[in-house]
């Protein structure tokens, strides 16, 4: 029986449709001003992929920052429980999940059943979130998706020690204007490094147990994933579609619990 999970993030809305436990449709779209409209669009796209209609879905579960605005979902679940459920299906051995989204970062300790043992979040400060990387990409005049590749060319990490996104910007500007300027790749590696320090610092507060997975939109950045590994001194796995993990988890919950309140 087909079910859907919708993750309404601050920047993108993700949908996963499961039918008898198999992923039959998925989509990622820029969130609309009205969360509900964006959620509908993303859902329609995934439905089309699956060759299904809205009426075919038995249960819809919403998650993410905008989950409360999705009136057509039967249930709302926190991102924490959805992330845990989602990663548990993709990578069952994962005990620590680091999720870095556009406006938040979260570290979750997960048990064998995919339940949440402990978690710590960071969502009221832009440092350590995708918003930080985005403003840095603008500053470096480089498309965000290219930052990861570029940073792999770095010889060393340029020093970006400020913990605040705004102050770090000033440091980056001074690297750019230095004579001779600090190499671009080094600056970007420094930017990734400073973000990794923040997130790893957060993770240490609840303890880090292997295996470790990195998810969320920022996980697609290979350079960032690498510095997280360097900072943790442990291997970190990134699932194929790191953005849709929460939506997948929501769909799993829809399947397990049904629409009953």
């Amino acid at each position: 029986m087909p079910v859907a999970g919708i993750d309404v993030g601050s920047q993108t809305t993700k949908v996963v449709i499961l039918n008898d436990g198999q992923v039959v449709g998925q989509s990622v779209m820029v969130s609309a001003e009205e969360a509900e409209t964006g959620a509908r669009k993303a859902l329609d796209e995934a439905l089309q992929q699956a060759g299904l209609a809205l009426s075919d879905l038995t249960t819809i579960v919403a998650t993410g920052a905008g989950r409360k605005d999705v009136s057509f979902a039967q249930k709302q679940k926190t991102s924490l429980s959805c992330l845990a459920k989602g990663i548990n299906r993709l990578l069952p051995a994962v005990r620590t999940l680091i999720d870095v989204g556009a406006e938040s970062s979260t570290v979750i300790r997960i048990n064998e059943k995919g339940g949440v043992d402990d978690s710590i979040g960071h969502d009221r400060c832009a440092s350590g979130t995708g918003a930080f990387l985005e403003s840095m990409a603008k500053l470096m005049q480089m498309p965000l998706p290219e930052m990861g590749q570029e940073s792999l060319k770095a010889q060393r990490r340029a020093e970006v020690s400020s913990m605040c996104a705004i102050f770090a910007e000033q440091e980056v500007i001074s690297h750019v204007h230095r004579v001779p300027p600090t190499p671009k790749a080094d600056i970007i590696a420094g930017i990734h490094g400073s973000m990794a320090v923040r997130i790893v610092g957060l993770a240490k507060r609840i303890g880090v147990k292997p295996e470790i997975a990195l998810t969320g939109g920022v996980a697609r950045n290979v350079g960032f994933a690498r510095v997280i590994e360097e900072e943790l001194k442990q291997k970190v796995v990134v699932p194929d579609n790191p953005q849709i993990v929460a939506a997948l988890g929501a769909a799993r919950i829809a399947q397990e619990e049904g629409g009953k309140q």
Binding site: C125, S127, M163, C164, V197, V200, G201, L202
Partner: protein, 91 residues
């Protein structure tokens, strides 16, 4: 003097507090702390006291995991090392 080192940002309050009236400058906290948070130096009124290093103060919550998690992992923390009870944490 009650010196608060750290910051509050969007996510919370992170301060390490050193009561310099209690502190005798022995430096036990310096050796105890696994993250090397403290140093002993004269303050502006000439008293030798423990302080949080300047390089640490602006990222204290990323250097020190907070008192509880730290005490779960190490035998002697800054709190237990300090016989004068001069150090406290807000997180």
């Amino acid at each position: 003097m009650e010196a608060n080192y750290g910051y509050s940002d969007g996510s919370g309050d992170y301060f390490i507090i050193v009561d310099t009236d209690k502190c005798n400058g022995c430096g036990d906290c310096v050796t105890a702390c696994p993250e090397r948070v403290f140093e002993v130096a004269p303050d502006d009124y000439g008293k030798k006291v423990a302080l949080v290093k300047e390089s640490v103060a602006s990222k204290v919550s990323y250097v020190c995991p907070g008192y509880k998690p730290c005490s779960a992992n190490v035998e002697t923390t800054c709190h237990t090392a300090c016989k004068m009870g001069a150090i406290s944490h807000t997180w």
